[in-house]
Symmetry: C2
Subunit: 334 residues, 2 copies
Amino acid sequence: MTKSGVTSDDVAKLAKVSQSAVSRAFTDGASISEETRNRVQAAARELGYRPNALARAMTSGRSRLIALLAAYLDNQFYPVVLEELSRSLQSRGYHVLLFMTEPGKQDEVVQRILQYQVDGIVMASATLSSRLAAECARTGIPIVQLNRYVASSPASSVTSDNIEGGSLVADLLARAGHQRIAYIAGAEDSSTNRDREAGFYKGLAQHGMTVFARAVGGYKFDGAAAAARTLMAADNRPDAVFVANDHMAFAVMDVLRAEFGLRIPDDISVVGYDDVPEAAWQGYALTTVSQEPRQMIEATVSILLEQIEQQSVRSRAAVIPARLVVRQTARLPD
Amino acid sequence: MTKSGVTSDDVAKLAKVSQSAVSRAFTDGASISEETRNRVQAAARELGYRPNALARAMTSGRSRLIALLAAYLDNQFYPVVLEELSRSLQSRGYHVLLFMTEPGKQDEVVQRILQYQVDGIVMASATLSSRLAAECARTGIPIVQLNRYVASSPASSVTSDNIEGGSLVADLLARAGHQRIAYIAGAEDSSTNRDREAGFYKGLAQHGMTVFARAVGGYKFDGAAAAARTLMAADNRPDAVFVANDHMAFAVMDVLRAEFGLRIPDDISVVGYDDVPEAAWQGYALTTVSQEPRQMIEATVSILLEQIEQQSVRSRAAVIPARLVVRQTARLPD
DNA sequence: TTGAAAGCGCTAACAA
DNA sequence: TTGTTAGCGCTTTCAA
């Protein structure tokens, strides 16, 4: 008995057709006459019938469920992405099943995901374990890593052009005449951090400069605050700092202003990365690099659906152009 | 064929037991000897077997899926709640299936939710349509409205003590000597707004005061900014404003500072509601009322699971105490 | 285009 | 404690 109590059999009886006719009436492109379809749908409406998605998933082998695996949602980039992803999938008849990673229980979560027979997996703010990668490769479930990639893995990835983005920031800061430019890193093992940092150094090099100081914030609010304190405790302080994401940049700005009495950008420039909604708030007005979440999600969904619907296993790596968003936390070139 | 290819039948064969023994080995509290359970699990491990959650749901009638229905995630209160809810349910073997409301497609979304045979529904930032309420009552699916309630509905609700919270704010502002206290409302049809406003007026009344001015922000960032402009365009401006949630309060602060050059709290006090993470950031340091999301989620989960597992239909209304969080945007009483 | 029949992988009586 | 059996509600051959 389905939770609503009425099954395709009930509808079939009322409409005086076979149960399979009912199934066909609810399947796009099925071989059924206009007339029977109408009869079935009338009967269905009368009974309040609604196909059981679970039963459908069982027999068809597609659950139309996409797992989203995330480690945290406190960086506003992720809620934005999650909402967008969910809407986009929903409009195509898919739905998001949410999984939060649990420290030390990585494998258990992987098992859970696979038990639900999801048609695809999106990894956001979570790193793909080799265990999950292997299992999915074996079972043919496509994975898209959002904002992260592992070169060796068979999974697809969607990122912004982090190298270009980092380089854009270096160029802006150097042209503004900064002499002592520091970097506050995200998680050191993440590809986003590696690329943003590499692009940043490359950009500095083009101006004949190197990074003045460096600290690690690990993409954490508190970590970034601590990193800022470390940087500012030195005898010779930086006059500009590129922070690996906005979420950390807010913490850095708080420390610079509240604990060191600095004015931004008069005393020191700060630049972030992501362009989360808060970056536009006047309390911060953060100069940053946009990740274009809309485009990233569009790419994610199209990769996923292509692999699901065409059964193709060809993994892709989409790179979305980065765009500098100039607000008020960085001194400008003349 | 399950996506991993191996079924309980395969395991049964290898372990030389019946297929139902395999099922029992994976069910807590099933009647099975230690020995067979071990044999089965060894075989399962060897084959990489993993029970199919969908098949299990079909036969048992419980999907262990909880639908979360939300209208938006850009108010940070919701990501916090979503993460907490997902973790809490996950640790109990349930999972969150996310649905975003779509304007004008309310009914379609309701159908989708019910098709997935979810065991329960949590409504966050979304109002319960009478259609959904009716369907769920009929099918016995428990609903918890988070941060919202409809008196007449059979659904449960979990809210903070919004009346008390509003009253606390009025008291703080009145005791600080404010003379012209304004209110910026959220969505007028929401119970949170009604209660916060009612409590606020009650609190003012206890000091022999009434609200000085009122505008509506509709729980939207831009709406709140517009409301602030309206309030400040008057000849006689308020000297304090209670904003119905933090998300709007940030917009209000931006307008007051950037467009009117006001200092907070020297020129005007601002108080919000929710205590979202950003309220603690130094750029705002917002005085607000905490909703205690942890406690709210705890209550939500316990109501849901009680109704699911005990089949009870007794709906409950949990009210979590509100707590004033004093930061720096409101003048203090001497 | 239609219906009959065979599962999908599992749980849950029921007997043994 | 165990195995046998009958479904859960649907999709998908296969014949007609």
